[in-house]
């Protein structure tokens, strides 16, 4: 189908964009990459009266390192993040995850901030932000505030963004010596929505893990930190027995949702399998994204 009628605004500055979102409120939607919004319009799932096209806001563009933080502008396209030498160097987990984000043509257009602000439960990048303990930079009339990723995602397509606010960037601590990452996703076909997946980081010393953070996506309405499973493998040698215990403990962390294709029990089982693989990846010199 075709998009319903709407009118269109193209602010030239962040301040002008904030004026518009204050003025039009819930009648307006922000248009960034459009790779989720335009399908929703074309399928008539959404009918905002105004689209505010933020693609011209240079304040939201680019990938930089600033004050020991990797800063990814909300308008950075997925393909730009995927190919960024700065991202590969300072936040390699994102480089592992990006090839799983939709298909090539979508990644050329879709934006990092759009994926975060939409908060699709099956999306990879929100979980990566939680696993990396990223801070999300939000601008509004009263200035800029920062929200930790784990406090940003509130529920199904629900975030800490308030009326009149706009996500401008995500900030990541630079990778430390001994910090390792793993990313695993199960989908019917590369680029499809995840059945379930996880993003993980840990400090690795030999075969021992500490400061383990494991964020699942596609399991519940928002990214879930698997705290109990992480506690099982925290410190000491990572043995097959402890991986098995972590897999068992996952039932206390995850309450997966079932749907017509995959029952809750199957999702939990698949999450356990991916957890085992990801924990095995972590001590490797360069954990690679595999099925």
């Amino acid at each position: 189908m075709k998009a319903p009628p709407f009118s269109y605004l193209r602010p030239g500055t962040l301040s002008q964009a904030i004026d518009y979102i204050e003025l039009y409120g819930d009648d307006a939607r922000l248009l960034a990459g459009g790779q989720s919004l335009l399908p929703a319009l074309n399928m008539r799932l959404a009918a905002p009266s105004v689209l505010i096209d933020i693609n011209g806001l240079s304040e939201l563009a680019g990938i930089t390192v600033n004050a020991n933080k990797l800063v990814i502008g909300a308008l950075a396209r997925h393909a730009e993040v995927e190919r960024s030498a700065l991202v590969a160097q300072h936040a390699p987990l994102l480089a592992l995850a990006l090839p799983h984000v939709a298909h090539a043509a979508i990644r050329n257009r879709g934006t990092f901030g759009g994926s975060i602000a939409l908060a699709d439960p099956a999306a990879e990048l929100p979980a990566c932000c939680v696993a990396l303990d990223a801070e999300l930079v939000i601008a509004g009339r009263r200035g800029v505030r920062r929200v930790r990723a784990r406090n940003f995602f509130l529920g199904l397509y629900e975030t800490a963004l308030q009326a009149g606010e706009i996500l401008v960037a995500a900030e990541f601590s630079l990778v430390k010596a001994g910090e390792r990452f793993a990313f695993r996703e199960l989908a019917r076909r590369q680029g499809d929505y995840a059945i379930v997946g996880l993003a993980a980081r840990a400090m690795v010393d030999g075969n021992a893990l500490r400061d383990v953070r494991i964020a699942f996506f596609g399991a519940e309405a928002k990214p879930v930190l698997a705290a109990q499973a992480a506690a099982v493998v925290e410190g000491g040698e990572l043995t097959a027995e402890r991986i098995a215990l972590a897999q068992q403990a996952l039932e206390h962390d995850l309450k997966p949702q079932g749907d017509v294709h995959y029952s809750a029990a199957l999702r939990l089982q698949l999450a356990r399998v991916l957890l085992g693989r990801a924990l095995g990846d972590l001590p490797q010199p360069a954990a690679e994204a595999r099925l």
């Binding site: 189908m1 075709k2 998009a3 319903p4 009628p5 709407f6 009118s7 269109y8 605004l9 193209r10 602010p11 030239g12 002008q16 248009l31 459009g34 790779q35 335009l38 399908p39 074309n42 399928m43 105004v50 689209l51 096209d53 693609n55 011209g56 393909a79 090839p99 939709a102 298909h103 090539a104 043509a105 979508i106 050329n108 257009r109 076909r189 590369q190 680029g191």
Partner: protein, 168 residues
């Protein structure tokens, strides 16, 4: 160029297949419909209209995009290449021509509905990563549906062009 009043129609200036184009269009018009209905370039096909089938793939500022997931007004200032202009588009033009020949030889199209987009998608891979394996070829074309061939002959054709270019 900012639009300060909410507009339902806007002028769009862009380059399509090397030619400057200026049109006044409804803002809700997507790029695929603009190319097909306003400019008459019907090689860009419209399948699902929600970004799933890939049939509307075009090149925007050198990168493949879904034309159904861009508004025509968002292409303001952009360089668009459709299948009609792809074979004349510099170095990648030769790649498109090579792909067309291999698709033809290997029967990598039957109804042809997916073919223009499949060629543009494959051309991006051949241009950027001609050393790609069959699996990487499959991954790269995973956003383009073909309901005739079963993909095998398409992968064969893309692989043949990749191998020919890595042995140069």
């Amino acid at each position: 160029m900012s639009a300060v009043q909410p507009a339902t129609e806007l002028e769009v200036r862009l380059t399509v297949n090397g030619e400057a184009v200026v049109r006044r269009v409804p803002v809700r018009l997507n790029l695929a419909d603009f190319l097909r209905d306003t400019l008459g370039l019907t090689g860009t096909h419209v399948g699902c209209e929600h970004g799933v089938c890939g049939a509307c793939t075009v090149r925007c500022d050198g990168a493949i995009v879904r034309a159904c997931l861009m508004l025509a007004v968002q292409a303001n200032g952009a360089e668009i290449v459709t299948i009609e202009g792809a074979a004349d588009d510099g170095v990648s033009g030769q790649i498109v021509a090579d792909l067309q020949r291999e698709f033809h030889q290997r029967n990598a199209l039957q109804c042809g509905f997916c073919t223009p987009a499949m060629l543009l998608t494959a051309a991006e891979l051949v241009t950027e990563r001609p050393q790609s394996s069959r699996e990487e070829i499959r991954t790269h074309i995973s956003g383009n549906y073909c309901r005739c061939t079963g993909y095998q002959s398409i992968v064969d054709a893309v692989e043949a062009v990749c191998r020919a270019r890595t042995s140069l």
